[in-house]
């Protein structure tokens, strides 16, 4: 994703240079969290619904092989061409091969975080294929040559005035016009031409039903339908964990998804695809890309229950104040921080630490992933595999020794209190990150242990 090697603390420090913007970002996403709360409270059995969704997904993960085979068989019987991709590279090659086969060099694509994860746009660009993202938010970040900063609201970090300027540059809208309705209208005209002329459409998949070989794509803009119905070839790309056993289970997931994501009772479009239209070809690409490895990690396997609603992003106090790009991975936020180390532990070793372990993420998760516990466990795993900074290991060793020896602890505590009192410049300086924006506590004249010895023994 990111071309630099900057880590979350540095990237969020940059984001925090503009405090007014951080406030705006925080308040925008907090508003979405509040909408989610209101929507959840309209469903009295909300917690039971979460439990049910979690149980269904646990069943899927325990029987993934069988469900996938069933899905493939049914999809093939429906006339769909099914492909299997072991990783991102194979996924991209499969898609590219379909384009070549059809002599197509221009396509439309509706939102798919999987294709972001696989870097499909970059891969196709290198192969001279023009991809137009048709989700409005994704189109905005694409025009700006950026990646989505949020999996449901890809351009949530952009202000409408900035979008007005971007559209002025790329779509020739009048300079200074940032009226959202006007800009959406301009995007609609711009995208309509692409929908009408492009012969291949890629969509993501929200849910794939094993029993019937169908799949469901949820959008608010109808762009997946526009693409898929107008094109000669529809390619649906999905991670293998998107399977649900039966059609009836959609009643659980569709009720949870939009309420958790944006506070809507349901997405505007829940489009069901089963078989290709006459004179149309339909492909499904089933992608592993590390998912089976994650499935084999006992502590982390249930991260695969994720339905990509981003409720954990919106509630996360760290995400709201650091922005999606500070996570330098396709899927940001708390869920991204437990998925990314599986793909590249070294590169993403910082992400499980980008959290206070407050636990709000686990509470909003509609499929009850214990996100904050997994963040804690990834920290242990990363240290075990040797991806922690060396200095940190040294500091921790000193700390562990001091804290396991009462005498050392008492001497150390006394020394710390003495230093803060008599040599405050030793700690109140730029080398101490605490002191940059916060004062230290005033040192008391004695510790509790010292007091206790005098007053109780």
């Amino acid at each position: 994703m990111s071309s630099t090697n900057a880590k979350h603390p540095e990237l969020s420090a940059i984001f925090n240079k503009d405090e007014a913007r951080v406030d705006w970002h925080d308040e925008t996403l907090w508003w979405v969290r509040q909408k989610r709360d209101k929507a959840a409270w309209t469903v009295p059995e909300w917690e039971q619904l979460r439990e049910t969704a979690s149980a269904i997904k646990n069943n899927v993960l325990s029987n993934l092989h069988d469900y996938l085979m069933e899905f493939e068989e049914k999809a093939k019987a429906n006339g769909v061409i099914v492909h299997w991709a072991a990783d991102d590279k194979e996924h991209n090659e499969i898609v590219h091969a379909i384009l070549k086969e059809n002599n197509v060099s221009q396509i439309v694509k509706s939102k798919s975080m999987l294709t972001e994860e696989c870097g499909l746009n970059e891969y196709l660009a290198q192969n001279n294929i023009d991809v137009v993202d048709t989700d409005l938010g994704e189109r905005i970040v694409q025009l700006a040559n950026e990646h989505p900063s949020h999996i449901v609201l890809p351009c949530i970090h952009w202000k409408k005035e900035e979008i007005g300027e971007l559209f002025h540059q790329h779509l020739n809208t009048p300079k200074g016009n940032s009226d959202p309705q006007f800009l959406a209208g301009a995007a609609r005209i711009h995208l309509r031409e692409k929908f009408l002329t492009r012969k291949i459409a890629i969509t993501g998949v929200n849910f794939a039903v094993a029993a019937t070989g169908e799949f469901v794509v949820s959008t608010n803009e109808g762009n997946a339908d526009m693409g898929a119905h107008l094109a000669d070839v529809h390619i649906a790309c999905m991670g293998i964990e998107k399977i649900i056993p039966e059609r009836k289970h959609l009643g659980v997931f569709l009720r949870l998804l939009a309420r958790s994501a944006t506070g809507q009772p349901i997405t505007t479009y829940s489009s069901h695809f089963k078989k290709p239209n006459i004179n149309q070809t339909m492909h499904i690409v089933l992608v592993d890309n590390g998912r089976t490895v994650q499935l084999g990690r006992e502590s982390f396997r249930n991260s695969l229950k994720c339905i990509r609603c981003a409720a954990c992003f919106n509630t996360c106090p760290v995400y709201r104040r650091s922005g999606g790009h500070s996570y330098h991975t396709a899927i940001a936020g708390p869920i991204g921080s437990i998925l990314a180390p599986n793909l590249d532990m070294k590169k993403n070793a910082d992400l499980p630490f980008a959290s206070t372990l407050c636990g709000s993420c686990s509470n909003v998760c509609p499929v009850k992933i214990d996100i904050h516990n997994q963040l804690y466990l990834w920290r242990q795993e990363i240290t075990k595999q040797g991806y922690s900074p060396k200095l940190k290991t040294v500091v921790m060793k000193v700390m562990a020794v001091t804290l396991s020896k009462p005498t050392l602890f008492n001497i150390g505590g006394k020394a710390a209190r003495w230093v803060i009192k008599y040599l405050p410049f030793m700690v109140n300086n730029r080398l101490n990150p605490w002191y940059k924006q916060r004062d230290l506590p005033a040192p008391p004249k004695q510790s509790f242990t010292e007091w206790y010895k005098k007053n109780r023994k």
Binding site: T356, Q380, K392, P406, R438, P441, P444, F448
Partner: protein
């Protein structure tokens, strides 16, 4: 009943008045309180930094110190939660298992075990309650705003019994203050911003004193308040319940 008083390392060194208030409060409610003098730390700073294994000697020491008490009570939800979730001993696992089951956060202990009905204290101030995440979401000392479930708060239940106190409503009921242990230095910019935003919520709602069950969060908020020379004070819930003003 025999209560082992578990005082977080930083409270012992920097906020002894919180430990004294906790001790006196438990004594007022007729607990026989023991304070193992050899206690240091629960090991959470190492564990949350990814070095849980390194904290084993802390765990062994902790188990040795607190074996044999009916209850272990701590004026910190975070430290209590760490013990509850992660304490294991290489020398006496049976004792560690008992401690995991009998460790309580102070407000939780007062409400659930001692079933306190009356608090003899007066605190005539406008007070904002900071919900510390580990106490709240980990120890369930209050309902969580994310869940569709009936509200309750053990802190509020106790504070409402204090004479003259006025509990102020905040815009964000239970957002993290950004302390997060080593997070506060590793992720300095986000951590400080989270703290500033929490403080702003209390300021906006006309709070004079911020209280809570975890001194670490209050230390963080205090650091920000002092830097901006704010008149708002922080006080651990034990200090208010113990009748100091």
């Amino acid at each position: 009943m025999n209560v082992g008083l578990f005082i977080p390392c930083y409270v012992n060194q920097f906020y002894p008045q919180v430990a004294i208030a906790t001790l006196e409060l438990l004594e007022k409610f007729n607990c026989k309180v023991g304070y193992p003098l050899n206690q240091t730390c629960c090991g959470q700073p190492m564990a949350n930094s990814g070095y849980e294994k390194m904290g084993q000697s802390c765990n062994d020491l902790f188990t040795e110190n607190f074996a044999g008490y009916d209850y272990v009570v701590c004026p910190s939800g975070s430290c209590a939660l760490h013990i509850k979730d992660h304490l294991h001993s290489t020398k006496d696992e049976a004792a560690a298992t008992t401690i995991r089951k009998t460790v309580y956060e102070l407000a939780e202990f007062l409400v659930d075990v001692l079933k306190v009905e009356n608090i003899e204290a007066s605190f005539p101030y406008r007070v904002g309650v900071h919900q510390s995440c580990h106490g709240q979401r980990g120890m369930h000392t209050s309902q969580m705003s994310e869940l569709v479930a009936a509200p309750f708060s053990k802190n509020d239940f106790l504070l409402q019994k204090v004479k003259g106190i006025e509990l102020m409503k905040l815009d964000r009921l239970d957002e993290c203050c950004g302390f997060g242990g080593t997070f506060c230095v590793v992720e300095e910019s986000v951590s400080a911003k989270m703290g500033k935003d929490r403080v702003a919520d209390h300021e906006k709602n006309n709070v004079q004193v911020i209280t809570g069950g975890d001194m670490s969060c209050l230390m963080h908020l205090e650091g920000i308040l002092k830097r901006k020379k704010s008149k708002i004070q922080v006080k651990h819930i034990s200090e208010i319940l113990n009748g100091e003003s």
